[in-house]
Each structure stands twice: as structure tokens, then as C-alpha cells.
Symmetry: C2
Subunit: 657 residues, 2 copies
């Protein structure tokens, strides 16, 4: 198999004198083996000399030891001229400390003495793979699945490299199959797939990763042959308990289930008149004896809306479906809430459940699969967005009230909660299709472990590890990454309105693509105005937030401008803070977005001789595509609005008629 | 196999006294066998008594004899109280005479004495099936193919019923495979499929039908293993000659090839810098020794247009591609020209090649597969459209200058020319999905044989044959059929502008569905106006017609109103002949279209006890769908225009915002 090692492709540390390290520990086990293997790979690559195993005079010992005062996944690194020690609460902490130390070494930050201690911000740091058992990946833009092919589970060399890659950024849980659990996927629960799953989980265990499965709520019928899946039915409960007993006993590091129920056609407890809480709690009972967890998605809305219905508002629905159930979920159930109320658009407000739920375990769901943000053919570094969202103050009345406080469980003793991301990986050579998309995977993991990191810090680390820390490379790639989300937003659907994409594929501009469809996503552009009124005078969505947010969002004057068209219907002659009309603002940003991409492309081209040629060429080809595609975005949106308003660009630039 | 006999489902003739007929002829052969079989089926069903074979006292003889003065496909029926005689130029004419006689009997028109003589208007009356060898049908709305499945040719009982059905309306040529000749279809030419094709052709022969194949112009490479398909290459020519020799020798009633070349990605002579004439003539040479014919499609245009390009006009392109080649095609080549310049929209002008070509064999291509006209889920009886088109005066300078004169070859001695239709059949029980869609198949055949028939006459025949001639049935179904095309046009894209459909599927309204796409079909609606200027001041398309048409189309004032938006960009405040603004006219017609469908549905419902229940229910379900779907058409188009203009309906009806 031919694939890259992404950011784990260790290279010589410049200006480092050759050093001999010795690896010293009394610990034993599969994680320790993997730690040794990592040092054995990394140190010769960076310093030219193979490390010694065990104490030896004349070497710099790297001592690994446990300190149970520390959290299992926490680590402390102390380095001076004579030795380096890594201390952790458990083996997995030593593994994280190892990757941290190697990162410091590789990025040139390990030359002086230092002490660093880190403890994970979030208990669960979870990868959600939307891989299907036929090998396809829903919203996958990096090739086929490396977990499944032809209805079989794949376990091979790449499984280990996957686990290693995930562990290197602190991810500790992986849901390997799609939340839409169809065809043969419901049978992942059964003996049919047990053997390869045991093998896979064993590899995961060596990297501190728990294996989760997405399950179909109808499994008792589909798999178990029962005539009901009613969560209050005794036989159903017994079936789930028996099934869980088997799987947890076979797989010691099995974590539990991710469930998409009563959502977009997936089966759920509604079929029996039961609530989400009744459904989730029944499963929670079944996994509780084994410390298992049920992750229950909140992506629930009416996907059969009539476009003529101007009252129903999809943005309101996820909140309405769950807010009444606050406090009713078992303590080993976690609600997984998308970052925004709709669906991973380039700009959305923070999901109001984060301010709303007070007695429920929460996990935030990000999406690094760039479904709506360029599908890994556009550069779109999402960490700036994640940073904004995590720092969002929910005003929920708790002492710690930002989103990161809620999902990390800061108010509740860090129990069942955390961060999840829909993954962007596939069996492409570079794992993520676009080489620069790997920064989102790297960044998500790092942020989940250490939720105060800035996007700039993360980018610096990732660039240095991936491309080396030559100054022009560091500077230009950093600029490209940091420009990319704002640029994408500029040439995309404006100001939070979202959805101007081609149906189904969600790629490329199509202003009316979803306008007359059943998905509840309408811009309602007319000659003089754009947007839906989600204020208290409209659908009332703004009132799902606590004060002062509810009032702030409720008025055009106080609504953050980047969300203006999410919350309000606004006339095209509305004057923006820049002094331009709304229409001219949209024209301008669409011209600017393309100019930004031109700059990004130029910056990449200057790195021609400084980036490994194959990687350089892959990125170049995609950025050239992105430039043409950003023009298509610009032209289609500007032309649509020009035709609608017949008001030309104030600066006289070409808008096609 | 369970399928209906459509209009050949003979039923008792009311008020007829039981009559014994005797079938008398000296002719022998497979067609004669089929004639006898037809009488043996029909006469007992209509008159209650099995006919006698051969003369017998006390019977009414039906005498079949040849008169070589008559055209092979012509027939004369003479009926008096004592006997009925059918005379024809050849066996196939006797077959047509037989079907005509049975039609007269079934529709109650054979009670009095009569003499009728008919000769076919068009030499070729051709079915174009777009069936693929995997069993799918491109633009098929009646189930799967009955010619192919799983890359095999199907020959069974239905093959015979197909041939019988086609012959009963005078169709004498059938192209059984899709013009897009892909996957295993190029191999239909080869030994691989010869055996079942021989069997099929033999059945066809018994019904006077020639078998044609669509061929891939790249066959010498794809099938023959040559390294070129250049029509001027000696080896290519030899390959085609050898291939044709084999197939024509094996299949006596093989007719030739239908070719889609250099069109929508299909391979053609352009690849070698050759013209359509060079390509077609090379094939014509290969089939000439066997009396074979090459039908070459004129559906050639740039399907990679940039929507921003406002100069290129798809409507112009078919004409431009072929007009310079006038006179350069061999005499056994026929250019097959779609009825309009674009693609089977509900309203288009007549294709300008009909007035343009003067020295080229022509065939008109209609489409009874209702690709853009409701896909056999809407009733849309197309014979009124065909009638208009055939009667269109081209002003081409010939004595007989209507379209029907040109395609029938009236000026040139009726040689290689005629009418083709893309078929609407599949393996659905009722053959055409919608029971009423069979009227288009029936009507196309009848019109091709007898090109002066009116849509009303054809409808009367078809209704009486299909549902019986009870007066309310005759009246209501006739009204439904005759209302249906105008109704569809009313709620569809207005006034010839076309294309407001969902991409690819071509079903359901989507105003911008093709607006920013590469297919060259743009409405360019803005706040104040709609349409593209195809006049001499615009793309110049109007000037492809001879005078006085060119001048007539060139001015808004003289352009036929139903084509206003095909030819012109018009302001929404333009005053129509009705006195309304253009905008209000569009609103009105869209409300009216739905009202028309309501009336059609009511008329059908009144026939509940007069139509065979299964057929009644099938039609009812589709008409109920049509009603809802016509509302969707009305609302999406009206809403789009209301948003664009912000001018409300003058009559205060609900237009969604």
C-alpha cells in the first residue's frame, strides 16, 4: 500500500547534533511497544541514530513512568540536558507524551530545557467516519473507505497507521461506520463481523482508541428477527442487552454506539410513539454494565417541508425536538449536537441547544469532511471557525458558559462529553484528498485535547511537521490556511444564508439549488430583499437563545453582520457597517473572494522548490481548480442578484447578465 | 407475460348480427399467416363466430388478392353486402388493409357498403427505440426494455405482439437500440448477437417491418479492433463493407443504420477532420449493395457552452452544421431532423433545416416518449402538435412546401424519407405507462401512413378501439386528449422559452434548472424582462428561415405569440394580444393550466363505470398526480416571476412569496 505518513513523516532536525537516546521504562504492554516503535522510527529520522533500549552510559535517557496522580490521558514532559522524562497517569498518557515530545523535537522547540504538563480538555475526542460497507464514504472526498470494502471489514497495515495518526493528535474514540446504517452495516453488531472487529480493536487499543459503532435503531427487527424495535418492549431490551454483552465481552475497548434516529428517514423511537430519551436510555441500560456510552445525534428535523410553507423553520427544529427532554437522558447518554442549527454551512450561529440544555451530557459535532466547504478540492482551514464556536459565550447561567466549557464538562467534572468530527479521510494516497485538508484533521484532534490552542498555533505545528519549518514555507502555508475559510465564505452564499449549492452533491454554486425543495433551506430572494426573518417577528428562532443573545440576534442593528442573512430578511439597499449597500457588499465580497484565491495560489506557487514535488503538484492542481471554481461561485451569485435587482456593480466590474 | 393488447383488444361489435366470414386468398407466406391469425382473433371477438378458411357457401368471403398496379404498402378495400375484398400491391399492403378493415368493423364504420383506397404518405415510418442492452431505456417511462436485458437480446411472445401492434398502425421500420450506442451495444453488429437478431427480424418480416440498428461510428475501433474509424481510411471502409455484407445476408429485412455522431459526446467523423457527409456517405456505400439506408441525425450542437457566453446560440447550431452540406449526401442517406431546433420542448418553432435543405433526403424526428412533456405521467396528446408542424409552410420555393411535403418526398417521388418517432414503449403491462399515452403511439403511426389525418380523427379511432365507442367515453376522452397539450403548455415554461425543468431527469419544474449550465438553454430572466433575442439584432437565428418567415419571426409585433419568448427578449410590461401584460399573461396561463387539469380529471372520473377498472385506476392515479404536479409547475414559475418582479397577480390569486 502506497500512502503518506502525513504529519508523522519525520525528517532530519536541522542544526541538531547527532544524539543517542536511550528508552527507559519498567512499563510493559502494547501501548509501550508502540511508544518504542515510534521512537525507533522518529529518532533515527530526526537525529540520525537509532535509540538504545534500556539505560546506557553516554546516552540521553528518555524515561517513561506512571504517576497515578495524573489523569490517565495526561502527561508531563521534563527535559534538561541530561535526560528527558515523560510521566503520565496511564500508558496512553505516555503515548500522548511521546507524540508531544517528538513534535517538539521535530518543530525545533526541544532545544532548550523545558517542562510541560498537559491534561486533555475533553474526555471524548471522537472521529465519526461515514464509511459504508461497500467501500463508499458518504460525503467522502478522499477515495474509498479503508475500513470496509465489498461488505467486508478491512484490517491491514493501514489500520495501524490510521490508529497511530489519530493517537498522535489525541483522538481516543473512533466510530468506523456511517450514521446511516444500511445494507449489511446493521450486521456489524453480530458474529458475522466479530473476528475482524476484534483484530481492529486490538490495534486501536495499542493506540488508546475505543472502537464505537453506529447502530440502526431497528436492529432488533433487521438483525435480531424480532417483530418490533420498541424500546419499551421487554424482548427488545433483552435483545440489546444480550447483543451488548457479547460485543463488550469480545472487545475490551469497545466504547458504545452512535445513533442517528428519527432523522432523514432513519428509523427511531417515534415509530412506537416513544421519545428520543426513551430510545436512548434503553440502549444506555444495555451498555452500562460495561462502561459503555450512547452517543445520540440531535440532527432531527422535518425533511419533507413544502417550499410554499413559510412558517416552518428547519433551524428551530433540532432545539424543539430536544429541549423538553433536558434532564431525561441517562448519565451514559451523550447528545451529539452539530455546531450550528442547520448543517455545516460555511457560517451558522452556534446551535442553541448549547445554551439551552442544562442537565444533559453534550458533545459538539464538527465536520472536517468539507461537505459544504469545498469538499477537499478547495482549501478551507476550519480551525478558525472551530475556535470561534468553542469560545462562544452561551449565557446559560453556569459559571463557565462558553461552548468549550459545556462540551468539555468543565461545570460537571469532565464526564461523558467532548468533541466529535465527521472525518475527512479515505484511502487516497495522502489520506485527505487535498494535502492541506490534513490540517483540519490534525487541528481537530489537537483542539479536542487542548481546547485553548489558537488556529495559528495549530497551523504552525502542522506545517512544520508536514512540510518542515523553513521560514517561507511556514509563512506562506500559514497565510494560505488562515485566509482560506474567510475567502471561501466571501465567494460562497453570503452572510450566513447558506445552501446555494447543487442539490445532493453539495458542491458548486446553485443559488436556487435548494430553493424550491423539501429541505427547509430557503433564501427567498426577491427583487428588493433577501433572507428569511428568524427574529421574534418571524419564525422566532432568535428566541431559542438566552438573553442577551436573543435580543442581539433579534434586531438587524445588533445582529452580528456575518450572520445578518441567517437571522433577517434584509433589503438590498440596507446600509452595511462598511457604508455600502447590502447588494454592493455581496458583489464586493464575491470579487474579493476570488482575489484571495489568486493570492493563495501565488503564495503556493512560490513554494515550488520547497515542497516535496508530488505533494506540491497535488495541491497546485486543486488550487488551480479552486480558482476557476471560485469564479463560478462569484459569477453565479453576482449574476443572480444582478438579474434580480438590475443594479450594476458600483465599481463597474464585469457581472454577466 | 401479462400485458394488454392496447388498441388491438377486439370486443363485440354492438348491434351486429352474427356473421360468418370466410377468408379467401391464393397468397401464401408469413404475412398471410399473420393476416389469417389476425382475422381468427378479431372476428370471433367482434362477431362471435370463428371464420372459415377458404370459400364456403353462406359465408361472407373476405378476399385477399394482389394488384401490382398498387404500391406495395397500399391497399383497397371494397365492401358490399355479399363480400369484402382487400387488394394490395404486396402482402404487406394486404396486412395494412386487414388492420384497416378490422378497425372499420370495430369502430362501427363497416355496416354500410364502402370502398376505400389508401397509399402510404411516407415511405419510411420508423420507430426509434432508445433501449439499452442492460434493459434500461433512455428517456423510457414505461418500465424496462422488451428488446434487451442483461446484455442479451430478447425474443419472445411479446416480440410478436410488438410487431403486430406496430404494423397495425403502419410502422414499417424499427431501430431497436438507443442512438447512444454504449457498453455492449456496439456488438449488436457482430456474430455475438446475430442469432437472436435473425429470429427477431423474422418475426418483424411477418409484419412488414425492417430491422434497423443504431451504430457507434467508432465501431471499427471498438468492435473491429482497427486503430482508426476514419471514414476515408481504406481499412475502415472494408471493415464496414464486410460487416454489412454479413448482416444483410443473414437478415433479409435488415434496413440499415441510425447514427448519432459528433453529438453530445458520441464519436463521429470530426475526430478525423471529416464532415458529416463524408462519414455518412462512407456508411452509405457499405449498405448500398443491399438496398440499405443510413439515417444520420442532425442533433448536433455545442453541449459545453459557458452560461456566461451570450453570443453562442444552440438553436442556430443544428442548421449551421448541416446547411453547407446540402447536396453532398449520398442518395441512400437520410438526414433525421428533430421537429424543432432545440430538443422536443413543449413548443418550438419548426426546424429551419426543413426550409433550408433542398438537395438532401429528410426525415422528421418526433418524440412520443414524453421526455419534456410529462413523461407519460401527464396526459399530453401530441398529435395536435405534429399536425401543426407537418402543415407548417416552409417557403422553400418548391411547389409543395409544407413540412409534410418535404418529409414525404412529395416533390421528389417519395424515395428515401419519412417520419420517425422516439418511442414511448416499455415492458409495462400497458406498454406505455400511461394508458392514454398509447394514443401518441397509435397516432404517430397512423399519421405517418396517412399524413392528412386530423388529431381529432385519430383520437376518435383510438378511443373507440381502446375503450369502445360509447358516446360519453368517446366525448370525454376526446376532450381530455385534445385539451392536454395546450394545458401542459400553459403550466409549463411559457411561450416557447422551454427548459424550466430539473436537470438530467427533465421532469418537474425548475426555472433555473438549466440556467447556469452548459447546455445552451437560457431564459435570462431579469427584473424587467425575459428571454434571449434570437432576432437579427440578437443571435440571428430568425434569419435561418426563408422569407417571409425570417421577417415575421424577427419582430415582436409579427412573431406568433406562442413563440414570442423563443425568438425575443421581452419586457414583462409588454402588452399581449389579450390586452394583458406579458407577466400577467404568464400568471394567467399558469392558473388556467391547473384548472384545465382539474377539468380533465373530473371528466375522467365520470367514466368510472365505463372503463375497464384496472385501466381506469391506472389513469386516475396518474391524473391525480398530474394535478398536484401541475400546481407545482404553476407555483414555482409564478413565484419565481413574482419574486423577480414583485408585481402581484392582478386578480389577487395566491402566489407564494
Amino acid at each position: 500500500m502506497d500512502y503518506t505518513k502525513v504529519w508523522l513523516n519525520y525528517r532530519p532536525v536541522k542544526s541538531a547534533s547527532a544524539q543517542v537516546f536511550s528508552l527507559c521504562t519498567q512499563e510493559k504492554g502494547p501501548i509501550i511497544d508502540n511508544i518504542f516503535a515510534e521512537f525507533d522510527t522518529a529518532l533515527p529520522a530526526m537525529y540520525g541514530i537509532v535509540p538504545v533500549h534500556g539505560y546506557k552510559d553516554g546516552t540521553i535517557p528518555i524515561e517513561l513512568s506512571l504517576d497515578t496522580v495524573l489523569h490517565a490521558e495526561a502527561y508531563r514532559i521534563e527535559k534538561n540536558e541530561k535526560k528527558i522524562s515523560i510521566t503520565a497517569g496511564a500508558h496512553v498518557g505516555l503515548l500522548y507524551g511521546t507524540f508531544a515530545l517528538l513534535r517538539f523535537m521535530q518543530t525545533g522547540k526541544a532545544s532548550a530545557d523545558f517542562t510541560v504538563e498537559k491534561s486533555p480538555s475533553n474526555p471524548l475526542r471522537m472521529a465519526n467516519h461515514w464509511d459504508n460497507m461497500d467501500g463508499s464514504i458518504e460525503r467522502g472526498y478522499s477515495g474509498k473507505s479503508f475500513f470496509f470494502a465489498d461488505d467486508k471489514v478491512i484490517v491491514n497495515e493501514r489500520t495501524r497507521d490510521y490508529a497511530r495518526m489519530m493517537a498522535s493528535v489525541g483522538i481516543n474514540a473512533s466510530v468506523i461506520n456511517n450514521v446511516n446504517v444500511r445494507f449489511s452495516a446493521p450486521f456489524l453488531l453480530t458474529e458475522r463481523y466479530r473476528k475482524p472487529l476484534i483484530e481492529m480493536a486490538k490495534i486501536f487499543a495499542g493506540y488508546g482508541i475505543k472502537l464505537f459503532l453506529s447502530v440502526n435503531f431497528a436492529s432488533p427487527v433487521r438483525v435480531g428477527g424480532l417483530d418490533t424495535a420498541d424500546p419499551l418492549d421487554k424482548n427488545v431490551q433483552v435483545w440489546w442487552r444480550d447483543t451488548c454483552k457479547d460485543i463488550f465481552e469480545d472487545i475490551p475497548n469497545f466504547g458504545g454506539f452512535l445513533v442517528k434516529a428519527d432523522s432523514e428517514g432513519e428509523f427511531g423511537p417515534f415509530a412506537y410513539g416513544r421519545t428520543h430519551a426513551e430510545g436512548a436510555n434503553m440502549l444506555a441500560d444495555a451498555v452500562r454494565p460495561y462502561g459503555g456510552i450512547i452517543v445520540w445525534r440531535c440532527f432531527v428535523y422535518n425533511c419533507q417541508q413544502d417550499w410554499r410553507d413559510n412558517i416552518t423553520d428547519r433551524a428551530c427544529q433540532s432545539y424543539l425536538n430536544f429541549i423538553e427532554l433536558d434532564g431525561k437522558f441517562a448519565d451514559n447518554v451523550i447528545l451529539q449536537i452539530k455546531n450550528g442549527p442547520v448543517d455545516f454551512q460555511v457560517r451558522e450561529p452556534v446551535h442553541p441547544l448549547f445554551g439551552g440544555l442544562k442537565h444533559t451530557n453534550m458533545m459538539i459535532e464538527f465536520q472536517i469532511a468539507q461537505e459544504y466547504t469545498g469538499q477537499q478540492r478547495h482549501v478551507c482551514y476550519l480551525l478558525p471557525e472551530f475556535r470561534e464556536i468553542l469560545d462562544f459565550k452561551t449565557y446559560n447561567g453556569e459559571e463557565f458558559d462558553t461552548v468549550k466549557d459545556l462540551v468539555s464538562g468543565k461545570n460537571y467534572g469532565y464526564k461523558n462529553c467532548g468533541m466529535a468530527a465527521v472525518m475527512n479521510t479515505g484511502n487516497d494516497k495522502n489520506w485527505t484528498g487535498h494535502d492541506l485538508a490534513a490540517a483540519n484533521l490534525y487541528g481537530f484532534g489537537r483542539l479536542a485535547y487542548e481546547d485553548t490552542l489558537t488556529p495559528e498555533e495549530i497551523a504552525q505545528e502542522w506545517i512544520a511537521l508536514t512540510f518542515g519549518n523553513e521560514s517561507q514555507v511556514m509563512e506562506n502555508v500559514q497565510k494560505i490556511l488562515m485566509m482560506s475559510w474567510p475567502a471561501y465564505e466571501k465567494y460562497n452564499a453570503p452572510l450566513g444564508i447558506g445552501w446555494m449549492v447543487n442539490p445532493n452533491v453539495h458542491f458548486g454554486p446553485n443559488v436556487d439549488g435548494y430553493e424550491y425543495d423539501r429541505w427547509g433551506t430557503y433564501h427567498r430572494i426577491s427583487h428588493s430583499a433577501i433572507g428569511r426573518d428568524r427574529s421574534s417577528r418571524g419564525t422566532g428562532y432568535s428566541q431559542q437563545y438566552p438573553e442577551p443573545l436573543a435580543s442581539m440576534y433579534d434586531q438587524i442593528e445588533t445582529c452580528p453582520e456575518e450572520l445578518l442573512l441567517f437571522f433577517h430578511r434584509v433589503r438590498f439597499d440596507h446600509i452595511m457597517s462598511t457604508g455600502e449597500t447590502l447588494l454592493q457588499y455581496i458583489y464586493n465580497t464575491h470579487f474579493e473572494g476570488v482575489e484571495d484565491v489568486e493570492k493563495m495560489l501565488t503564495m503556493w506557487e512560490t513554494l515550488k522548490d520547497k515542497i516535496e514535488p508530488e505533494s506540491y503538484a497535488r495541491v497546485l492542481e486543486r488550487m488551480q481548480f479552486q480558482l476557476e471554481h471560485s469564479k463560478e461561485w462569484r459569477d453565479r451569485i453576482n449574476t443572480y442578484l444582478y438579474r434580480m435587482t438590475e443594479i450594476p456593480d458600483a465599481k463597474g466590474r464585469k457581472i454577466y447578465d
